[in-house]
Symmetry: C2
Subunit: 437 residues, 2 copies
Amino acid sequence: MTYKGICKEFLESCGLSIGDRVEIIKKNVKYVGMIISHTHGSDDKHLVLKLDNGYNIGVDVTDAQAELLEKGEKPKIELPPLDMELDPDKMDISIISTGGTVASIIDYKTSAVHPAFSADDLLRANPELMEQANIQGKAILNILSENMTPKYWVKAAHSIAQEINQGADGVVLTHGTDTMHYTSAALSFILNTPVPVILTGAQRSSDRPSSDGFLNLMNSVTAAKSDIAEILVCMHASMNDTYTHLHLGTKVRKMHTSRRDTFRSINTEPLARVLDGKLEVMDESFNYNQRHEGDVEVNDSLEEKVAYIKCYPGIGSEIIDYYIDCGYKGIVIEGTGLGHCPEELLPKLHRAREEEIPVVMSSQCLYGRVNMNVYSTGRKLSETGVIPASDMLPETAYVKLMWVLGQTQNLDEVNAMIQNNLKGEISPISSQKYFLI
Amino acid sequence: MTYKGICKEFLESCGLSIGDRVEIIKKNVKYVGMIISHTHGSDDKHLVLKLDNGYNIGVDVTDAQAELLEKGEKPKIELPPLDMELDPDKMDISIISTGGTVASIIDYKTSAVHPAFSADDLLRANPELMEQANIQGKAILNILSENMTPKYWVKAAHSIAQEINQGADGVVLTHGTDTMHYTSAALSFILNTPVPVILTGAQRSSDRPSSDGFLNLMNSVTAAKSDIAEILVCMHASMNDTYTHLHLGTKVRKMHTSRRDTFRSINTEPLARVLDGKLEVMDESFNYNQRHEGDVEVNDSLEEKVAYIKCYPGIGSEIIDYYIDCGYKGIVIEGTGLGHCPEELLPKLHRAREEEIPVVMSSQCLYGRVNMNVYSTGRKLSETGVIPASDMLPETAYVKLMWVLGQTQNLDEVNAMIQNNLKGEISPISSQKYFLI
């Protein structure tokens, strides 16, 4: 977007425009970079500069001085026309966009890293995708994934279902990486899909040399054409641009703030990988659903009043009262070790039990399995009716409890459903080898 | 402990005693194992059985039937006398015990896995320790580490200081593993020590074939005799009983519920390792404090009213209000990705700012560094005065904020202290190689 107000005046008074390379001096600090268009929602006094390291910063132009270093060319966006002619020999894949870094893949001269592009734009920027399949693009949201909510999970589920029921042979959902694993877990429980549903994103926007978005998208389309009718996350498997892993939607977690291979399967190995356009199943022990005929099933009832509490030394036990008093219907605890919390919390968990509020115990270790039979604390928790999350990720346990409480409020049924493996979220056998891989 | 009440009557009526191998049938379920002494704090109707797999369970004897399978020998505990004669050629090392699995190392026939033994008992059970050094044992707590609190951190710090100021050449603190890394971080900030302070524990009690306690203790004494005057965690480095790592107390985390090599340095490598009784420094880049003369310094002022909040899709923003209304003085957020939270929380964080309550942003990715300059959400958080935790672990950020608020309430000073590296908690340089090692 073009600038308004103070920035507009500043640019005009200095004879500068978007695309120019400039030096801005403000309070003895010097910033060198290219002026790019401003971020949606920002105020009118911050000029956005793309620094040479690829990062964007906002500089308050009040009392700043600017010097033109190099006049920029007017930014050109060359978009190939979208050829929507269907090739009967190709599969039909839908790409649904929700925002996130992967969607900032185009028009790098003028965009800050913020969600701004739709699935159609993704296709225009990556015409190679259309060689792989007949691709339909659809934008349903345009948000950074830290702003995802359970309501948006349901919206995404219905959009995916609509595409499949209208004949899509597979769906790719582009998504910000911050909470992609929460969404993939939610979609795993909400949807029973006859075709692949692949979540993907990027850790780097395409305006940085190390962008990962293209390979992730290409390989997601390959996965969407495969026979694995599961909810999967397709992201880089290494620091190189060589191949991607396909992680089961309930067993994956973002494990690094910035690496491209940030997504990791926890307590299991990735289900498959895509290398050179070919999909190879890695975890032969997992009986994934095969592609089949039929409509998608959507069970979209979620109980949103579920609390997720991390335990730590010094936690005040009143937090349990707070959530009960606020009408929360379920609690997931990210406990310590094998699934423990301070004994001080026990009376509060008894109260939850009396008020028929299920409490699920997971572990902040992330790796390994909850076992509340080893130590006295765990046994006391079991006696209080606390439900072990087994080797489920805490984040998955949270999403699952929301979904389970959407299906039943009967405490025994909740207990059984949490402890039963529904969508690959609980591994039947523990293997020590799946640690830090 | 011997049984009382219902269990005592049950044992007497069946002619059974501790040490006997029995079959107990209760509601058609059969339990086979050895009767062991009951757990401290348990009620009088649960009999504790050690099953053949090494685990202990409590069986409610109401309406149960028991059959003697094999009469147990009366448990014998042969404790070598503690030879307290000081050898002037050996260093003086103090072992302070706080409970935890490592302290259940002795008397395996009669103990359930619960904290029951003191440092002196550890020495009696591991006389080899006394070949290494003149060892003084001291028990200050007898708890499972999920029940550690900030007050106990301070108690431990003062006990350590007392030992050092009375001439100990190094201190080993035995501790349950669940929250060992919170305690090691707390001691790192509270203490400036002229000699090594080593935290250690065990993932398996000695009554299981795979116990790790002995090697951890032996190598901790080796580390306590070394020249590294830092707070370190000494735990198994592999699944084999071969060597231990020494992790900096502020950079370590329990990453697996049950593996012996569960403790991992995050965003750095272990400072050193101990193999075959020899200590070898691994991270040459870290300028650790060298052993030196002088007293230990104790800065034990902690602000206990610090909240630790994990962010997730669907989090209610009122949780921030709750903590502010309850008089909390600081908030640590375990955000997503590079350090984000839902925008819905922003007005609440503005309120925290207005009320001069510092908010620190860490990442639930655990690996990598918080960077709030890349995305619009991060920039908005920065504008709200949210303080980035850099590459600090969220748990360390929580402990550090408690300690910093114990030193100053001035918001600018808090901001500066959080962002400055005080005890190795912030790595100056990010290296991609320290991921999942």
